[in-house]
Symmetry: C3
Subunit: 273 residues, 3 copies
């Protein structure tokens, strides 16, 4: 980081962009940490869909500078007994509800410190029952960006008590991988939970087939590039920029054409000789 530059604050919510919620959060933060660069990851997480939020955060945070603060609010339990937390994991800081939103971060990064946000000195004077993004998570995130230490913000919690999601995840069997569609992007590409890193020889095997039993569909074409020659009407497999095996159709939405959404079960089989 350049001398004197505040770290960036990245935001991820399910608040949408129609209301003033996100703007108000930035107003609160800029009062505490003037000159901060705000980066919107997205505010279009489907309402209260914690696992979609976890996936979108999990495939993004690595690209941010060390010291960046992620203020994340997808929070069906706002006002309930779930904790509000701040976590220092890997090179980054994460602030939000302890409801599984940090699942992938916790799975992938060492946790250096984690606290419950129990110190009201770092919250707005009144914390509403319905908008803790404004009243609690934003001021805490801005105080971290402004240099406060996590231990000032509340009482430490052990890393292994932080909430994880109960995700189906890919299951490796001797002759196949059973997995599911974990994300559908803006272009209608269907991203599975099968990491390319599990199958580094994916493009070299003589035969690969992705079965979608409920749709009685088998996809066997693999492409390294979207622009590869091929039949535009046929779905194909590629490695998504998130690092996972995915299904696309060129120049159209695979999700819409194949009528497939998040959660669809998929099975990958292959012959490697």
């Amino acid at each position: 980081m350049q001398q004197g530059t505040s770290p960036a604050i990245a935001l991820l919510t399910d608040f949408g962009i129609r209301d003033n919620f996100v703007g108000v959060m930035k107003g609160v933060m800029t009062r505490i940490a003037p000159g901060t660069t705000f980066i919107d990851l997205t505010h279009e997480i489907p309402p209260q869909d914690v696992s979609a939020g976890a996936w979108v955060l999990g495939t993004a945070y690595r690209y941010f500078p060390a010291g960046s603060v992620f203020v994340c609010v997808v929070d069906p339990g706002v006002g309930s007994t779930r904790d509000a937390v701040a976590i220092h994991a890997g090179d980054w800081y994460f602030v939000g509800p302890d409801n599984g939103l940090f699942h992938f971060v916790l799975a992938e990064q060492p946790v250096h410190a984690a606290v419950k946000l129990t110190n009201p000195a770092f919250h707005l004077p009144t914390v509403s029952a319905t908008f803790q993004g404004r009243d609690l998570f934003s001021p805490v995130g801005a105080h971290i960006a402004a240099g406060r230490h996590l231990l000032e913000l509340g009482e430490p919690v052990p890393a292994d008590s932080l909430r994880r999601l109960d995700l189906p995840g890919p299951v490796l069997k001797p002759d196949r991988i059973e997995a599911d569609v974990s994300y559908v992007d803006h272009f209608g590409n269907l991203v599975t939970s099968i990491a390319f890193a599990m199958l580094p020889d994916f493009f070299d095997w003589p035969v690969v087939r992705l079965l979608l039993p409920a749709k009685q569909l088998i996809i066997s074409e693999r492409r390294r590039f979207f622009a590869d020659q091929g039949d535009d009407a046929q779905p194909f497999l590629y490695v998504d920029s998130s690092g996972y095996i995915a299904i696309a159709m060129r120049n159209t939405s695979a999700a819409r054409s194949l009528n497939i959404g998040r959660g669809e079960a998929v099975t990958l089989i292959w012959r490697n000789t």
Copy 2:
């Protein structure tokens, strides 16, 4: 504000985010006030809906640092005889058409100065008939952020001549409050015009009922928290983060489920012993 940090410029428009309108406004402003932090309040005000814009601004501005500049463009009368104004009210600056967009700010804050934007030295060289957001309001807003005094920008206008909206507003009768739905948020929550500050004992009264005569609907459940136990199929009353009494249904859109929109008449009755 930190030494050397420009104040933030917040934007509120009905321009949407598909076109380049908002980006161009920021381009114009960053030329005049480089390094400024831009904060989007929203660009999704329904086209030309001045009172929706006024509400969204009115529930947001207080959270911004002193000295922030709000550039606001919801302007059905662009090119007509309505004035273009800049207002210093409370701790903030507001720039936009004088058409009621600043209704709540004017109702809530003392006006220190207000001017008509008649000095072309602070506009773009050519002011188009259709995009004063770019040609007039943006450069003026950026010049204020860069430190210009309001009186350089044009001729003073008296605060009480600034345009207010003719809003129904809540009417307090001896035994009830007659009001309406003033905003529907992204989650489908229905925010009424009844301020919680009018009814600080709202949660303590033995009985509270919100009547929606046109829908033959009576809502009597009150919740402090969204996550409170209760029947998900039933609408309930809560205090919205904007400070107003509102109607929600848990895990669904009350607006869609109840088929209620902005302007719907509501009557609040109660028994306080």
Copy 3:
């Protein structure tokens, strides 16, 4: 530019705002050029619609400060043989695929330098086949903002080899102009390819008619201001803020009311005495 202020980076893509694509690009850039101001031109270009992207960029870039960097990704050929380029044209820098996206910039500005992005030292360590916005265009754009010279980024290409679009464009005949609708904005206004600069006397001629043969429609009313008196049910001609002759209806979407979209043929005729 103020001493010590980084130039702004403007972004234009067809990535939408639901996914984390745009946020990740900014994460990558803020790591290389901390403190940069990011300005979103739009991320809602229709998927892979290069000519819409070119138009939106072409009507925006002039309003940005000298030295601004435009990172533009509308890229149906990602992973194919189209080149990735950086261009210094007029007072600005442009980074993206060489597929026609810079058509209007190249038509309007002198090119001082242009390079193919062949130097991997300025890319992310791994360049994916599907997200060059993140892996290639973002780091290159940030390095330019941070002061790198274009010639460090790759091998020079001659300006006249850069890809232009094959646009119909307006055709001036002795007694008419044949043109088309080149853009439909958020309000449903229909912007034609006829520049007002071609017809500076547009408002002074006794008669002007815009014919839409396929719709058997003739529009002859001209308005300088949207707020001019007139029949709200009738379409009229005005000069759009982009500088082109356009069709609007007051308080409604001309595109929807007239069922007209991009590409619709129009013919302008006039009598100038």
